[in-house]
Amino acid sequence: MGVVENNDIVLDVQAVSMRSRQREILSHVDLQVRSGEVVTVIGPNGAGKTTLIRTALGLLKPTSGQVSMRPGLTVGYLPQKFHVDPVLPLTVRRFLKLSGAVDDGEMLAALTEVGAEKMLTAAMQTLSGGETQRVLLARTLLRNPELLVLDEPAQGVDLHGQVELFSLLEKVRSERGCSVLMISHDLHLVMASTDRVICLNRHVCCTGTPAAVTKNPAFVELFGEKAAANLAVYAHDREHQH
């Protein structure tokens, strides 16, 4: 993985392509995350979103192109699937301790920040989807991340929980000033909190602010007219001042 030269850029993905077994999963994808920015990647199933994220994190090596990060960047990662086998006894406390927490005080502070302070002694396997996400978020906060990477954070969380989760993410982001790179299916929630949207369907179809993207014909083609209409209204509502 390379090193970015411009200090304002936290993560720089340049012309990344990924081929696997004769299939092209990603094609010449460019992506940049700047300091304090929230970037969301959206796209249909099979678009390569998770592959892109994992390549950006250095978990996968691209077939061509390159990925650079600001030197010494602390990254916090919330994977799409997180499951602790029931045969492994693991309390939230032990999990956080493993992740670098020094003492109970530090753990409770992180858990309180995400609204999960009651979960300290719970077994990880007993947590609901939403609670697990909060604990995973608390875990990343222990290291003061400069970049938060979230792969479909709202998956497996009920509707109410989703709204809460996104407002929590916004709170964390504004209080800590970290950058956020996120994959999301939830167009409505995405639009409310994102600085920049990237539509991915193996290649980048369109990119820009939420308002700009919903007007883009490529977006309409990707998600259909109804979605575009709904979101245009939503974005419009957001800009409305009475």
Partner: protein, 266 residues
């Protein structure tokens, strides 16, 4: 108590305590069949030791390490399922070992000892070997404990946190190979895996944290060794299988009792 019994007890207890933290990882990482494959290949080590006239312990450790590294590399390929690959290696190495051994006249007498262990003929030298190999393995595992636990919980997260995932995994299977080679003498290669996983599985029932599970497994393993040796002495049953039966009985007991499981359910 007779000398041989004291040595058997010491050897057995050291093995039980060292095996426990490995056993819990074998259960968490689903490596039971992997351990079994290493044990099967140990017989090839015995045969090669006799054939090439080198120290038995060295030969067995060398073969087990080779198989462990080969398996580690092979598991990256995708065409065959892991357990198919393990089955192929386990039975091929065992068969090769048996064929080589048939070239020696004393094979029938020694085979049972290799298959089922001969804890009652453990010598002072054997104890020394077990203690040294066991201590080195245990101390190294303690160093690897935290990163290996992180890898087991979520490999991607561990990698991003800076854990050298491949190195840690490779180190673990190498230590396992050494331990299997050493334990073969005590319980024999057929039952090595049992001594790893049964105490660990029983310990799950009463553990809230990974460390607690390892320590309880050590305790259960130790009790099994004592009970098994006592039973073997009293009823003249083979020692290795008796130890395993004691462990199995404890497992059944733990799961029969109405203990609250530490995930909320009963």
């Amino acid at each position: 108590m007779d000398d041989f019994l004291v040595r058997a007890l010491i050897g057995g207890l050291v093995v039980a305590v060292v095996a426990a933290p490995f056993g819990v990882f074998i259960v968490w990482r689903r490596l039971a069949y992997f351990g079994d494959t290493l044990a099967h290949s140990a017989l090839l080590g015995v045969a090669l030791g006799l054939l090439l006239q080198i120290n038995m312990n060295v030969a067995v450790v060398a073969v087990c390490l080779t198989v462990a590294v080969l398996l580690f590399l092979f598991q990256r390929q995708r065409q065959l399922a892991d357990d198919t690959l393990l089955g192929i290696l386990a039975h091929s190495t065992l068969s090769l070992g048996l064929v080589f051994l048939s070239l020696f006249e004393t094979v029938r007498v020694d085979l049972m000892a290799y298959l089922f262990g001969d804890i009652l003929v453990v010598s002072r030298g054997d104890i020394g070997w077990i203690v040294i190999a066991g201590s080195v393995s245990l101390l190294t595992l303690i160093k690897l404990w935290k990163p290996l636990l992180l890898i087991t919980i979520n490999e991607d997260m561990a990698r991003i946190d800076g854990v050298h995932v491949d190195l840690v995994k490779l180190a673990f299977v190498c230590l396992l190979a050494i331990l299997v080679a050493v334990m073969m003498k005590i319980v024999g290669l057929v039952l090595v895996t049992a001594l790893f996983i049964i105490p660990a599985a029983a310990a799950r029932r009463v553990s809230q944290t990974p460390e607690m599970m390892a320590m309880v497994a050590a305790l259960i393993g130790a009790v099994s060794v004592v009970a098994g040796l006592a039973g073997s002495y009293r009823w003249d049953t083979p020692a290795g299988p008796s130890i395993v039966l004691a462990a199995a009985a404890l497992f059944a007991l733990f799961y029969a009792l109405p203990l609250t499981r530490h995930d909320g359910s009963v």
